[in-house]
Symmetry: C2
Subunit: 200 residues, 2 copies
C-alpha cells in the first residue's frame, strides 16, 4: 500500500467541505487511503497574516456567491450556515480523541459534522452538538464529554495544528501527496493527476 | 453576437498569465469575444487589505511551487521572472492607449508582454520595454512614448481600475460573464460551463 494522502481542513471551511466529498474516491482510484486532519485556521491565519475570506472587502462578497455556486457545479448539497465562520475547537478535539480509539468512527464523525453544518446549515460549534453527533456514529459520549476538557486532548490538537503549520499548510483544504502540497478544492484535478502519474 | 466576456488581470499576475492562454478559445467556442482589461492589483489590494501572495508567510512558499507546477499541468511555458512582482503601470497604460486606437494591436501587445515576462522571465516594468514590444505589434512608438506621460492616459487607466474595483474585482484573473463573476484561473471550467449552459 502506498502512503496515504494527507487532507488538512477546518470544519468551518466551505472549500474543505466541498473537497471532503471527493478526496477519498480520488485517492481510492489510485490505491491510496486518506488521512483526514482537521486543523484550526485561526492559528494558521495568525501565522500567515490572513483573515477569514468572508471578512475581507471585495473577496467576502465574491466568496459568498462562489461557495453555493461551486457546490451546485459539483452537485454537492450546500446551505450557507449561520453563524459563519464558527469556532471548531470542540469538533477538532473530538475528531482526534475518537481517531486515537476508532479511526473509522472519527472519519464518520467528520462527515456528520460537515453534513450538519453545510448540508443543513446548522451550527456545530458547541460541544454538546459534537458529542451528540459522535454518539450517532458509535462513540462513548460520556467519555468524550469528559475528554473535551482534558489537557492532553487539548494538547493533541495543538500539536496537530503546529505540525500542519510547520509543513506549510496555509489554508483549507490542503493536501499532501508523497510530499507534494496542493492547496484548495480547485486542485483536486491536479491531486488526481499527481496520483495517476507520480508527478510532472 | 452575445455580450463579450470581461477578463481582468494584472500583467504581473502568474494566474492571469495562465488564464490568458485559454480564455479566448473558451469564449470563442460559445460565440463570445473577450474584453481584455488589465488592471493594477496594488489599488485592489489597498481596497481589500491584501498583499501579493509571494510576500505572505506560508502562502508565499506554496505559490512559488504552484505557479510552475500548474503551468506544467496546463502545458503552458513558464519561467519564474526576476524581479517579481513588478510594477505594471506602463504596460497597462500602453494597453489602453493602443486599445483606443487599434484594439487588435492592444491584445497582441498584451500577449507579447505576458510571453516576455512569463515565457522568457524578462522584466517588463520599464516603459522602454513596453514601447519596444508595442512597436513589434505595429504601434507608433514615438506617439506611445509621448502618451505614457499624458495625464489623460494616466486617468484612463485609473478609471479602469476604479471601475473594476466598483464591480467587485478582487484579484487576477477575474472574469465576468453576463454579470456573473469568476475569480481565478481555477474557475475557467466554471466559466466555460456557464457560457455553455447559461448558468446553474
Amino acid at each position: 500500500m502506498k502512503a496515504p494522502v494527507d487532507f488538512y481542513f477546518d470544519f468551518s471551511s466551505p472549500y474543505g467541505y466541498l473537497a471532503s466529498w471527493f478526496i477519498d474516491d480520488i485517492a481510492a482510484r489510485h490505491g491510496r487511503e486518506v488521512n483526514w486532519r482537521p486543523i484550526l485556521l485561526g492559528p494558521v491565519f495568525q501565522h500567515s497574516g490572513n483573515s477569514p475570506l468572508v471578512n475581507q472587502p471585495l473577496k467576502g462578497a465574491y466568496v459568498v456567491r462562489d461557495f453555493p455556486r461551486t457546490a451546485r457545479y459539483l452537485k454537492v448539497p450546500f446551505v450557507m450556515p449561520t453563524p459563519f465562520p464558527i469556532a471548531t475547537v470542540p469538533a477538532a478535539r473530538a475528531f482526534y480523541w475518537l481517531h486515537d480509539r476508532e479511526p473509522a468512527q472519527a472519519k464518520a464523525l467528520a462527515r456528520s459534522l460537515f453534513v450538519r453544518f453545510y448540508g443543513e446549515g446548522r451550527d456545530i460549534s458547541a460541544a454538546d452538538v459534537v458529542i451528540e453527533l459522535a454518539g450517532s456514529v458509535g462513540a462513548d459520549t460520556a467519555a468524550l464529554a469528559a475528554a473535551l476538557g482534558d489537557p492532553a486532548v487539548k494538547e493533541r490538537l495543538k500539536r496537530e495544528v503546529d505540525a500542519a503549520i510547520a509543513k506549510g499548510v496555509c489554508g483549507s483544504p490542503y493536501f499532501i501527496v508523497d510530499g507534494e502540497p496542493f492547496w484548495g478544492s480547485d486542485r483536486l484535478g491536479q491531486v488526481e493527476d499527481w496520483l495517476r502519474t507520480g508527478g510532472w
